[in-house]
């Protein structure tokens, strides 16, 4: 039991660290959710050398040209969800309007022809299998 726990611990340690190591190795503007976050990272990680090259034009601002979908995207999402609810509303309205117009028509098609064809296809398949068998033996 102890062995298992230590094994898991080592496993977690190794992989956890390697992950962090990878992440720490090189950051791209994509890795941040906002420009401020990138800026913070840039300032706290040797801004003069800029190992991750977040400030390519060396003006002291990291990822200023990268478009972040952070706060903007939430706005967009809100907007789109708003639109969606609008659509829902209109569709509801339209069905209501349709309700006041008249009733739905009856379903007037049977599926028997399809079933008949399906049955014939199964028969054909079975016969084919049988014939093939005969030829082979």
């Amino acid at each position: 039991m102890k062995k298992l726990v230590s094994l898991i611990a080592t496993f977690l340690l190794v992989f956890g660290f390697t992950n962090v190591g990878y992440a720490a190795d090189d950051k791209n503007c994509d890795d941040f959710s906002s420009q401020e976050e990138a800026q913070n990272y840039y300032e706290s990680n040797n801004p003069d050398e800029d190992p991750s090259d977040l400030d390519r034009d060396d003006d002291g601002e990291a990822c200023e040209t990268h478009t972040y979908s952070g706060s903007d995207s939430s706005d967009e999402e809100a907007a789109s969800s708003g639109e969606a609810s609008d659509e829902d509303m209109t569709s509801e309205e339209s069905t209501e309007a349709a309700d006041s117009e008249g009733a739905e028509m009856a379903d007037t098609a049977t599926s028997y022809p399809v079933y008949m064809l399906l049955g014939l296809a199964i028969v054909a398949f079975g016969s084919l299998l049988l014939l093939k068998r005969r030829v082979h033996s």
């Binding site: 008249g102 028509m105 009856a106 007037t108 098609a109 068998r133």
Partner: protein
């Protein structure tokens, strides 16, 4: 050996499926009886396709106190005769799946009425069983609806194709109207996306049993 058993099993299954659906289809199709002589005997001028005036709403109303349909869903209530096709169709109350398996169904909605209420009477039938061949009907052709010893004579005013969700067909009408709905296209496999509509106006009522039955 296994393959042989499997193939024989497949053949038997296929035959059962085909046989069963073929039988169901045939029995449902034969709900409509093909008797041209009887169908055409319903009226002397069934072939006349000239435009006839629509009967006034008031004329229909004087004939009866507002009748109520007492039939239960799925009960036979009358007969539809189309001399042009030579067919007689039994009419059942309601348009649910079980009812439409028996024959032609009459819509039971808030918008539709019985023929003797001078409103909008609507019938539905499967395009591949009872209402097979309905697309041969043209403007001017006559339809006869027999209900409670009265025969209502309708003349087709127009036919059109619409979407299955169109709710502008089964609506209230001020003039006595008969609408037939069935699925379209007629030779489409599976549940059809469109509806074929035939709309006719009431042109005459024959009360009593003077129509040969």
């Amino acid at each position: 050996m296994v393959a042989k058993i499997l193939s024989i099993l497949l053949i038997i299954t296929g035959m059962i499926v085909t046989g069963w659906s073929g039988y169901e289809w045939w029995t449902q199709k034969s709900a409509a009886t093909f008797q041209p002589e009887k169908a055409q005997a319903i009226s002397r001028d069934w072939e006349e396709t000239d435009y006839q005036e629509t009967v006034n709403r008031e004329v229909v109303h004087t004939s009866d106190v507002t009748p109520q349909m007492k039939a239960k869903t799925g009960e036979k209530i009358g007969e539809l005769t189309i001399p042009q096709l030579g067919y007689l169709y039994p009419i059942y109350w309601g348009t649910d799946e079980q009812t439409l398996k028996q024959g032609v169904g009459m819509y039971n909605t808030a918008f539709t009425t019985l023929p003797n209420q001078a409103g909008h009477t609507a019938l539905a039938g499967h395009r591949d069983t009872v209402f097979d061949g309905l697309d041969q009907l043209k403007k001017g052709d006559r339809l006869y609806l027999t209900l409670d010893d009265a025969t209502y004579e309708y003349q087709i005013r127009k036919t059109w194709i619409t979407d299955e969700h169109d709710r502008s067909v089964i609506v209230e009408k001020n003039s006595p109207t008969l609408t037939l709905t069935t699925c379209y296209p007629f030779d489409y496999l599976g549940s059809a996306p469109d509806r074929y509509i035939i709309q006719a106006s009431l042109i005459q009522i024959n009360e009593g049993s003077d129509s040969p039955s």
